[in-house]
């Protein structure tokens, strides 16, 4: 299952015509203790590059952008009770939402893990 990364520090796993989105380990480290995550509604449309969720830490509130256009099919309800999952397991249990993949071409231009590591290091 290929994993892609954005310059806004989201990751996206694509499996067939479904994709899972979260924020990277680098992002959670920069944000500090996460206290709240506002997720999109299931059934709502998200558009590539547009804001889809909000993550709040003790110091800031930041937008999370959709890396791909699609319809939200599932959200990670566990974050409602335990937003700190984003800190402890950002790239696994702390996922944000799942979307349908409308256009696979949108994945072009996203980074792979190696490219993202270089990008994050130079940030």
């Amino acid at each position: 299952m290929p994993r892609y990364f954005t310059e806004e520090h989201e990751w996206i796993d694509v499996e067939g015509d479904s994709a899972t989105v979260g924020i990277t380990d680098f992002a959670q480290e920069q944000l500090g203790d996460i206290v709240f995550v506002e997720l999109p509604q299931v059934g709502s449309q998200v558009a590539k590059g547009k804001d889809a969720a909000v993550v709040e830490s003790v110091k800031a509130a930041s937008d999370v952008y959709a890396p791909i256009t699609g319809e939200v099919t599932e959200i990670n309800g566990a974050l409602e009770d335990d937003p700190a999952l984003v800190n402890s397991s950002p790239e696994d249990e702390g996922w944000f939402f799942r979307v349908t993949v409308a256009d696979k071409d949108e994945l072009e231009g996203l980074m792979n893990e190696t490219a993202y590591k270089d990008f994050a290091q130079s940030a």
Binding site: V35, F36, Q41, V54, E56, S57, V58, A60, A61, D63
Partner: protein, 457 residues
């Protein structure tokens, strides 16, 4: 801040340093046509200080001030006795002059006060959480409507016809900029509010129903059926209260199922103050809605040594962090008015508030019974607290209020003043009676009203 006097030499030195010859050189960017080149046209020469004092005194003497006459005005602003100790406390320099004193390291006094304020408001409203206050009741009402839209993701608000018209106007004004649809109405003259009519206006697009309790005509009714009807359609019930003293006698809106309770806190501790600054109260019944609340929140915590302390909390909802996505564009509160409210509430205590409410109602009943004895006068309400609607059949209430004022009685607020041009409401007069009204005041009002009505027949 230090006062730094300037000498002419200081000025010359500064001008020289920046390369200007005269102060006027600093204004060369202002077009000549916009610059003042002499005295303002048509403005008379200034008068001497004593002449100005005499002039102002003559103007002031034309006022009939609240304390100078029997006073029965309400309609959203109530005259209550404010104990002298309230003024003493709020005039302490630590409270009076501090600006945004929210750093917990140095502002435990202010933060503790706000925490106690929130506790009092939450208990008064029957809610789980109250914020540290907003500007006034009407803006709090709009904030509640905006919050209901965030919670329900719907944009239609249904306002009861018996919501204070100024509150409805503030909501309408703000809604122009958010794209919300506001369905408002006017009060129908009837002994009880028309909840069936209100319920019929709720649909599947409705974010909230806004109802005032007691309402603009002073009527009191069980709002729990409105809460049920709103919830059935997935909407929230917003209850608005303009007279917090009433909640010393009545069941709280939160207990009856209102989701957001807002109101005006002026009646406790603040005073009439020519209409402001006032105190917006805001609370939510269900703790799950806290994140969508507007305004500042103060919380209790423990410090590094395990000692009890207070801090602002959930600030990421607010404008200075969340920018345009904040829950409100208001990032401040009415701190000093909140302190006055809390000081007064603390002095009263729960027992004192209940007694104050009982005294208000006792005097209001006395007044209503007395006025009802005047031929051509009837009391509209089936139920009321300290304010009720008097019907002056065949008379224009606005003119009667003016004529009463000429006779030295501030007799009430006419509905014609609140709803200009609405013929159906012209004969209605709102009369508010608080602990500041004496039986003699009530007798004076009744006598003068009776004599006026007889004369103008």
């Amino acid at each position: 801040m230090r006062y730094l006097p300037l000498t002419q030499t200081d000025r010359t030195d500064m001008l020289e340093r920046i390369g200007a010859e005269t102060i006027d050189d600093l204004f060369v960017d202002v077009p000549a046509v916009a610059q003042l080149d002499g005295p303002i046209h048509d403005l008379p020469m200034h008068a001497g200080e004593m002449a100005v004092e005499r002039h102002m005194k003559r103007l002031a003497d034309r006022n009939l001030a609240a304390g100078d006459a029997p006073f029965f005005l309400g309609a959203g602003a109530y005259r209550h006795h404010v104990p002298a100790s309230v003024d003493t406390v709020i005039q302490r320099g630590e409270f009076l002059t501090a600006y945004t004193p929210y750093q917990p390291e140095i502002a435990q006094g202010t933060l503790q006060m706000l925490f106690e304020f929130q506790t009092q408001v939450a208990r008064l409203y029957g809610c789980a959480v109250a914020n540290a206050s907003l500007y006034d009741g009407s803006t709090a009402c709009w904030e509640a409507v905006a919050m209901a839209s965030r919670v329900t993701r719907r944009k239609r608000a249904v306002l009861s016809g018996a919501l204070h018209p100024h509150y409805a106007q503030v909501v309408q004004t703000m809604a122009q900029f958010t794209g919300s649809t506001i369905a408002s109405a006017q009060p129908a003259i009837a002994p009880d509010p028309d909840y069936d009519g209100l319920i019929a206006r709720i649909d599947d697009e409705t974010a909230c129903v806004v109802v005032q309790y007691p309402d603009i005509l002073g009527r009191i009714s069980d709002i729990s059926r409105l809460a049920d009807a709103a919830h059935e359609k997935g909407a929230l019930l917003i209850a608005v209260n303009t007279e917090p003293v009433a909640l010393g006698a009545l069941q709280s809106p939160g207990e009856m199922g209102a989701d957001i309770v807002v109101g005006e806190g002026q009646a406790l501790g603040v005073g009439l103050q020519f209409g402001g600054p006032y105190l917006g109260l805001f609370a939510v019944r269900d703790p799950k809605h806290v994140r969508q609340m507007p305004g500042r929140l103060c919380g209790e915590t423990t410090d590094a040594e395990g000692k009890r302390g207070f801090v602002l909390t959930l600030s990421t909802r607010e404008q200075h962090i969340r920018r345009e996505k904040a829950t409100s564009n208001i990032c401040t509160n009415s701190g000093l008015c909140a302190l006055a409210f809390t000081t007064h509430m603390t002095l009263l205590g729960e027992k004192g508030l209940r007694e104050l409410a009982a005294e208000n109602h006792r005097l209001a009943c006395l007044a209503a019974d007395r006025l009802a004895k005047i031929p051509g006068v009837r009391i509209l309400n089936d139920a009321y607290f300290n304010e009720f609607t008097v019907m002056l059949d065949g008379h224009n209430a606005r003119e009667i209020v003016r004529a009463l004022a000429d006779r030295g009685v501030l007799g009430g607020v006419s509905l014609g003043r609140l709803y200009p041009g609405v013929e159906a409401l012209e004969q209605a007069l709102l009369v508010a009676v608080t602990e500041t009204s004496t039986p003699d005041d009530i007798e004076t009002l009744a006598t003068q009203l009776q004599s006026l009505l007889t004369e103008t027949e």
